[in-house]
Symmetry: C2
Subunit: 244 residues, 2 copies
DNA sequence: ATCGGTAATAATTTCGAAATTATTTAACTA
DNA sequence: TAGTTAAATAATTTCGAAATTATTACCGAT
């Protein structure tokens, strides 16, 4: 067998990867997706605002291709509107879309909690307990504070962590994915249109506690009742709830 | 004010749009998305199969950018798996993911039908009636036929149209979007793993008829009972259903 | 002065090639 | 001959610029 002729591999020194991570490297598509999703939920871009690739490129220090990829994903999830040759813009909400999100939360949360209470073991109970403790911590501080504003973002994040942890034992990734979309749609509206992101003062503490206690005791009826009280369902949806 | 100097617009004749649409033009991202989604559901690509841009480019006659855009959207929806630098592949199913899809269908379909029966007017009743008629037409033919194979795709499409039409009056786009994802996940598994795409012979006709009659009469309890019978829920999920 | 049309400008989308990363193949060693 | 290493190849991702499309500003006419 004839020996093959091979030239040695040439490595361009300027392209060699640095040992120290370069902090100002352009973020990849997945990171951008997270940044944009977070920004849309937390009001960095207002509902209906145009998301111009050229401006965002400067603002986020990224390349247009990665940006476009992230925006396409967000459009698929419904957090961004896109029309052909008209670019992207943050979705605009209405009371109706908010009610849809609340309703979806109610439907999915009730079903998921039923399954979670059946499947959840000791590990789950610990996780729920921890998430509740953190949420209570924030809510107690807010109760004592004159101005709740600086706590709102922390609170909202803990609210998500608590609800998500409770449902995490339901063993349906499909359900949890839909729930996340509904929850984030809910939150997006709350951030932009409700005075305190939907924080309801003392009631919240009581409601979350009721959900927590019922969950830990695996009391299905009590847990679902507590969730029903907790969500700001319209009368319309509540009627439907009665049938459930 | 000084007159501005302007050169006449030059149009490259070769780039001028033809009056007759060119059939072999490269499909845009949205069309590709539909083609790929359809192909994934109907088994054009097998579960777990790698979706290589280079091959697909030839197969579908498209450009790589449009293809990538479509694949990104499908990945976001969960019909395609993507890992960094490892390309895309059709999702692989299991009995568990199928059961999740069935369960999601049950949860969402029951809730949507409750709302639809409240909101649906005459127009909706006509649409439901028409969709049912078409479905029955296919199912009667299948009943008479020795081999149902050639009807399966028609049947599956009409099954979707019927269920979707029934739910269409629910007035929640968020719910309908989640339902579509669940239904298509269900169908994807059925096409690849169930002998007759989930078609159950005479039972199907009876079940669809029960749903139809209950819907037209706005009989909520009967409609939900009929849906429960219709969906291939596991015992696990059925227990949960009893609590609903 | 307002309306309609046309050119200039700005923005978005598309595209092909370069750069990066993974996979396969071949050579070498034990 | 099996196991190891590195090159060659193949595939994927990135990128910047070209092409397309929308928007804005200007001129002329009614």
């Amino acid at each position: 067998m004839a020996t093959r002729l091979r030239s040695p591999r040439v490595i361009n020194p300027s392209k060699q990867q640095s040992v120290v991570p370069i902090s100002d490297a352009a973020p990849d598509a997945h990171t951008l997706y997270e940044v944009l999703r977070d920004g849309l939920i937390w009001g960095r871009w207002k509902p209906g605002e145009k998301l111009k690739p050229q401006h965002l490129k400067d603002e986020l220090g990224c390349k247009s291709a990665a940006l476009r990829e992230a925006l396409i994903r967000l459009a698929g999830e419904g957090f961004v509107d896109s029309e052909l040759n008209q670019g992207f813009r943050a979705v605009a909400h209405s009371k109706e879309t908010f009610q849809e999100a609340v309703h979806m939360r109610w439907v999915l949360e009730c079903e998921a909690v039923r399954m979670a209470l059946k499947n959840g073991g000791f590990e789950w109970e610990m996780a729920v307990s921890a998430a509740h403790k953190k949420l209570v911590f924030v809510e107690e501080r807010m109760k004592a504070a004159d101005d709740v504003t600086p706590f709102l973002k922390h609170w909202s994040r803990q609210d998500w962590e608590f609800h998500n942890t409770v449902l995490s034992a339901c063993r349906s990734t499909l359900l949890l994915r839909s729930y996340k979309t509904a929850y984030d749609t809910f939150r997006m509206y709350a951030v932009s249109s409700l005075p305190t992101y939907g924080f309801g003062g003392d009631n919240n503490i009581t409601e979350h506690n009721a959900i927590y206690e019922a969950a830990i005791q695996h009391d299905e009826a009590a847990c679902i009742e507590a969730i029903l009280c907790h969500l700001p369902l319209s009368d319309d949806a509540t009627l439907s709830a009665g049938a459930g």
